[in-house]
Amino acid sequence: MEFLNSLLDPFALIDLGIADIADGVKRWAIANRSMIQPIKDVLNTGIVSVDHAFNAVPPLLMLLIIVLIAWQLASARVAITVGVALTVLGLLSPHAWGLAMTTLAIVVAAVIVCFLIGLPLGTLAGKSDRFEAVLRPLLDLMQTIPAFVYLVPVVMLIGIGNVAGVIVTVIFALPPLVRLTSLGIRGVNPSVVEAARAFGASPKQVLFKVELPLAMPTIMAGVNQTIMMALSMVVIASMISVGGLGNEVLRAMGRLDAGKAIVGGLGIVILAIVLDRITQGIGQSGRARGHRRWFEVGPIGLISAPFRKA
């Protein structure tokens, strides 16, 4: 009887010790922390200075700057939406604006890192089926594995703080950018690429003059998704001592303070709306924007109009 039981449930008898191995990696990470420390300090200084810069600008001026950016990159309509949304954000509570700027700094840092890693990876994946086949399960893993699983090793490796927060955010937010960059490169009309080759373009010129520009709307959709996912990591990142709106929500949860939670939560949502509208605006195709150059639209277009030739 016992034999039959063990036959039907062989997994109970076999222990490959995967958890122990992972634990070993953790111990190794703790032992070698000093190696990581200098890199971490540099990154942390970068993030903190962005945070300080955002917080140093008077809120009303910052609001104006973001509205102007939205007008330039997207449209006047988006700029109005962004202006209203940011005003509501500021009115949520006296501290909301400062917290939002801290969160914005973390998200911007994470998205820049995602862009630097994701664009080359996605381009390679778009060019090579084999690389895509290797990358895909890795991206699936990054997107689906619960954040708490890698939270611990990351903290063991580099300690709590902004850098760890950015790293866990990047792990979660990177996949859509890679996937959509690959999709965008694959979606470029092959006959246009052929024409570029026929007129003597080198592989590098084909990439930078044809493939990346034509894939740009899809890549921007990826950036948009990456920003949204980065914002959704804000609360989890605050568990490893990242400040900002996420921290507000976390603390409210600990004290069962519904009011504080709503301020933090709404703040994150508004930030998401603002960043979403702006990045969607950038992703519009040339035709949708009436084929105007960047210096012919928005506030810069308004200022430069008298200096341009008709």
């Binding site: 006959s191 080759r197 026929a198 007129f199 003597g200 520009p213 040339g286």
Partner: protein, 357 residues
């Protein structure tokens, strides 16, 4: 029409293209055992795209390759600028072996020597007309003023002046293809590769563009390889025509040759519907004066309508309508042949058997 000089600009020798993972194996087998297309497909799971194609194109000549879709003509033309590598065979451009070029030399040749026009236009939607046309000089690193100058010259040549700042999606199909043509001639290349350039356009626009292309071509005297599935187009445009079927060039000749002496039933079938009026000359249908006199008595050629030997049927029909007499074919002031109404009617029908009755 320009008479092409003898020096070949493009020379293709025994080009084979077999698609598939086991192409080289299939190629060896074809060489040794002369496998057919079907045998290659069944035995090696490979597709024969081009089968032993050889031809020369002389400087200034317009060489048409005519074939139905799937006959391998688009594959063949892509060998000239090595967008496709041949499985076997050699392509020489002005005496240089294209497949022996380094990558850098190949890119230079593509940008400076060869212009290409595509059926799908393949314009870059994120660049305006000027930037599209200037592309080949841009990738060669010409300075902005110079490439703007050549691009504007090309745009003017295709009558698109004033449209430089527009984007492709703001233009009609015919205009887009004119941009495609301008892009091909912007760097003033010696060779033009035209891959069914006018097939996607409606008939009226197609005819307009054919005329425009022929005018440009006469003026610029470029060596042109022109792909089409439309025999009328091939006859209108080409100095010589090659008929392609299942990857093989079945006949190469002047339009008149192809129409009057088709090499096989396949070509004959193609040319059956083609009007001979603008193709066949008096020399092809005339009867020697002696033969005529033997049958009908002395010929009063001096009082009949007269035509040159290279006069087309069109012209002969006009002469024949004007007078009840036969037409005298004159060369150097002497009658060398006679075209009767019967012979003329036979000629119109494409029946060029020696006139007996």
């Amino acid at each position: 029409m320009n008479t092409p000089s003898a020096e070949p600009v493009i020379r293709c020798e025994g080009i084979w293209k077999i698609f598939g993972k086991r192409a080289d194996e299939a190629m060896r087998s074809v060489r040794e055992h002369g496998l057919s297309k079907e045998e290659v497909r069944d035995r090696f799971d490979c597709v024969v795209g081009v089968r032993d194609a050889s031809f020369d194109v002389a400087r200034g000549e317009i060489f048409c390759i005519m074939g139905l879709s799937g006959s391998g003509k688009s594959t063949l033309i892509r060998h000239i600028n090595r967008l496709i590598e041949p499985t076997a065979g050699k392509i020489m451009i002005e005496g240089r072996d294209v497949n022996a070029l380094s990558n850098a030399d190949l890119r230079q040749m593509r940008a400076e020597k060869i212009g290409m026009v595509f059926q799908s236009m393949a314009l870059m939607p994120h660049r305006n007309v000027l930037q599209n046309v200037a592309f080949s000089q841009e990738v060669r690193g010409f300075d902005k003023a110079e490439r703007r100058r050549s691009a504007l010259r090309a745009i003017e040549a295709v009558d698109l002046k004033g449209w430089e700042a527009k984007y492709p999606d703001e233009l009609s199909g015919g205009m887009q293809q004119r941009v495609g043509l301008a892009r091909a001639i912007a760097a003033d290349p010696a060779i033009l590769l035209m891959d069914e350039p006018f097939s996607a356009l409606d008939p009226l626009i197609r005819r307009q563009l054919q005329d425009q292309f022929m005018a440009l071509s006469a003026e610029m005297h470029k060596t042109t390889l022109f792909i089409t599935h439309d025999l009328d187009e091939a006859i209108r445009i080409g100095h010589r025509i090659a008929i392609m079927k299942d990857g093989e060039l079945v006949q190469i000749g002047t339009p008149e040759d192809i129409v009057t002496a088709p090499a096989d039933a396949y070509v004959a079938d193609f040319v059956a519907g083609i009007s001979k009026l603008g193709l066949v000359t008096a020399a092809k249908i005339m009867e020697p004066v002696a033969a005529w006199e033997q049958r009908e008595g002395p010929a009063a050629t001096a009082s009949w309508s007269q035509a040159r030997p290279e006069a087309l049927l069109n012209e002969l029909v006009d002469l024949s309508i004007a007078s009840p007499d036969p037409i005298a074919v004159m060369q150097d002031g002497k009658a060398i042949g006679i075209v009767t109404k019967t012979a003329l009617l036979r000629g119109v029908r494409g029946d060029l058997a020696p006139a007996a009755a």
